[in-house]
Symmetry: C2
Subunit: 511 residues, 2 copies
């Protein structure tokens, strides 16, 4: 009998473009999502968690970033049943398309208007790149069924509140608002949009809109090249342009640069520019209404400002569009200063539910890019990238495991994060290395000698590390990194030591 060959071992790898998140990365994100959810909820929004899987039919083709060729979804076909071919299913690529499906499906049971928030992963079947993953978090709030500009104003105010709630200081962010109708008016004026034949020039219009969307990154000169014949970038790649004249491109530059010192002046300037376009003027009036509502609630242009250069790439917006940008500088990989850029965006989309019901349902909302926001807070140094580990009770005598478990039970009951070392206890050095790798602040030692004397050794690992770094410093002299304490004083002494390092929370716990 021939020996059967063992199958090769599977590779221990995430699929390309996916990653795992560890420890503080996970808990900090959960904390941020919780903080944002609390703001959304205070504004009257209700939670919704739709299924991660949708039919391809229900999702539709609203994927943003149509200029990337391999943009797409992860999809598969259900098994056929009784000669009926199986449905095509897919992972959701955002939280807005599922909202439209949910609203259409449950509209008779939902309040109208329906304010909802949702948070969770979304998936994009795109070519992964540095820092670009195929699964990431979104955190959305939308109001479905209200045509009022008060709904848009409220969402912008809420967005500003969210950013401050998670730790972005006032002055370090700005929410910028524009209106698609103004952009439409602009496109009408240069002949790239015919309200009666929206399909005409759709391609060139797309080129122009995507160029404007890159204004921040490329600058006005490059955008104007893209409006005209096209542009060659530094690498020599050529991007075809929208085919406008120099004068048309310059006029567009004038609209994009219409932001003035106050919202009132910006609106006045826009009204002059949109004098020929009814749709454009409608957009200006909407912006004026939003600006008025925000001012009445005390949201000044230091937080929320009308800015005609905002586009938002998504094709489905029909009215106001908004974007939150972080305005502080960070250093890029080459050590150059650059602005962190956009962390949230949204707008009004009045046609999304219509796909299902045939009736137009006005809707408006935002999506906060939680992962980018977390990255920003870390780069700004406002968030620790590692957390301290548990208090580690070492095992000197493996026969006395029950004693050690009793110690951690005491510590935990007092609200202090603690554990017994559960590896092989033979090599004591390994136990301290373990505590080190966990970034533990304190280790507890109780050998036979200590047991007999009714005491425990408490090792201050933070102080120990500092002493190891610079053992000659005078100030360490009277602060030994290991102290003896009576067994009964264990919890009190550990708490004292954690307090000394500023690690206790308001309730005296260490979580």
């Amino acid at each position: 009998m021939a020996k059967t060959r063992k199958p090769p071992r599977p590779k221990a790898e995430t699929p390309k473009g996916f990653r795992d998140y560890f420890g503080a990365e996970v808990s900090q994100r959960a904390e941020m999502l919780g903080a944002i959810a609390a703001v959304y909820h205070r504004y009257g929004f209700d939670a919704l968690e739709s299924s991660a899987v949708e039919t391809v039919e229900a999702l539709g083709k609203f994927l943003p970033d149509v200029d990337r060729p391999n943009a797409g979804v992860f999809a598969w076909q259900e098994d056929a049943e009784a000669e009926k071919p199986g449905d095509w299913l897919a992972l959701r690529y955002d939280l807005t398309a599922p909202l439209a499906r949910v609203y259409a499906q449950h509209r008779n049971d939902l309040p109208s208007p329906y304010r909802r928030y949702a948070m969770g992963p979304v998936w994009r079947n795109e070519k992964p790149g540095p820092g670009r993953f195929r699964q990431f978090y979104q955190c959305d709030a939308d109001t479905v069924g209200s045509a009022s500009m008060a709904a848009d104003a409220e969402i912008c105010a809420m967005l500003a509140d969210c950013l401050e709630e998670v730790g972005i200081s006032r002055g370090d962010y700005v929410v910028r608002i524009n209106n698609r109708k103004v952009l439409d008016g602009m496109m009408e004026w240069v002949g790239l949009l015919d309200a009666n034949n929206p399909e005409t020039n759709a391609n060139q219009r797309g080129i122009a809109m995507r160029a404007i969307d890159k204004l921040d990154r490329l600058g006005l000169k490059a955008v104007q090249q893209l409006m005209q014949g096209g542009r060659m970038d530094e690498s020599g790649d050529f991007t075809a342009g929208a085919g406008l004249s120099f004068a048309q491109a310059a006029w567009i530059g004038g609209v994009l640069g219409a932001k003035r010192k106050t919202n009132a002046l910006t609106i006045q300037r826009l009204r002059e520019l949109m004098v020929e376009s009814a749709r454009g003027r409608e957009g200006v009036t909407e912006l004026e209404e939003i600006a008025g509502l925000l001012a009445a609630q005390g949201y000044g242009p230091d937080r929320i400002v009308i800015d005609p250069s905002v586009v938002r790439g998504l094709g489905y917006y029909t009215g106001p569009v908004y974007e939150a940008e972080l305005t502080f500088d960070i250093l890029d990989d080459k050590g150059n200063k650059r602005q962190f850029g956009s962390v949230a965006g949204g707008g009004r989309y009045d046609d999304l539910v219509k796909r299902f019901t045939g009736q137009e349902v006005p809707a408006t909302g935002i999506s906060i890019g939680v992962d980018r926001l977390l990255a920003a807070l870390r780069e700004k140094g406002r968030m620790q990238s590692a957390e301290h580990g548990p208090v580690v009770v070492t095992v000197m005598d493996r026969e006395r495991m029950a004693d050690y478990q009793g110690m951690v039970a005491e510590l935990r009951n007092a609200g202090l994060r603690a554990e017994v070392y559960l590896g092989n206890p033979k090599n004591f050095g390994n136990q301290l290395k373990y505590a080190d790798r966990r970034n533990s602040p304190v280790a507890i030692i109780e050998g036979g000698d200590e047991k007999a004397r009714g005491i425990v050794q408490i090792k201050d690992l933070i102080l120990g590390a500092q002493i190891a770094q610079d053992a000659t410093l005078e100030e360490w002299k009277d602060r030994p990194s290991q102290i003896e304490a009576p067994r009964g004083a264990l919890v009190g002494k550990v708490r004292e030591l954690l307090a000394g390092h500023g690690l206790l929370d308001a309730r005296g716990g260490y979580a």
Copy 2:
């Protein structure tokens, strides 16, 4: 030119077996996950969030419930690249298989032992049924790299703590522990397991194990029929048996029923029964060690108990197995009392990482079925199924939207959940209907007359509903459901009213 036919409208439906979760369902689950995470964290476990998508190769074939023919995963093939066929990817079906992959991939950077917790949705491509969905939440904690029974004892203690933390009272649950080695010893004794040739009789052994796993539901008599020739159920369906003799089946019944009044007596009885099996005796010794550690930490048999009837369906367990059961009665669909049953389970699996690395890595862990636990708390009446909605500021004069927005801003800044009605304000009745559908406790009204008098009307919707139900009650007489208050007293009066209904939290907020 022929008119193009419009494509049919997409159906607004979740795929079969999926569902959406609304409002309190979502926030209560988030709260429960947070409470469990806090317990896991206090025990020294670190958070891990692995990607929802894995390669089929890495996931392997460890799906439980192999007796269901269409059990499976949602899988699809990546696009081919440069003549290389694309990898097969799949949605994770549990959180344990991804943990094994993560540990194998990152083992050089992770502490050893590695304690981690994880929570999130998992997906099963199974035939959906009533109350059975293809996406559901798991909430796991595992210790990888420790062979110590202290790791198992700790996990059982932590499981008991979690259940109490989320609102299951002591006495309403029990964590039951058994050991696969005892079950192996039992199978050896009846000839269904040969330690040197584990493939022999695998099929009959599977039948026997699955039968034991159903002991709770079917009772001992049915299980003994399944041990022997087989069993016909009430519907007439016949299930083939494991082919044991009457005496063998009776002996197995004796092992399964070996639970005695105390853990010590159970262990003594098991030791007698396992006298012929080295593996069985090893299992008994492990159980004895776990029982000792738990007793030392104060976890008595009212919370955690050795029970030889526990099996756990998963094939990969190799040592201790545990299960948490809720012991209170609920009424089933037919109004009959039944026990709620299992809400969590786990055990030791020492072979799962070996698939990747070739080295055996001891591991043990639990999975809490959060959705079942939520259902249990709702059935027990310990959790409200609906929450109260926001304070609703109605719109009497749409020109004064900024005033109304100012009111909600005041209320929110005071920590009270509030919103302006954003639908069409023309029909005031619709506004009150909306507040009603939101289950709002309070509505605010300020028309032109109120504005001129500097007051607002505050409508107590809870009291209003009570009065509407029984308008004759004496006690309502002096409690009008609508009061006038000076505009400046708005926040104070609303807070007073919410407090009267017991709706304020400890910090005086209404979230």
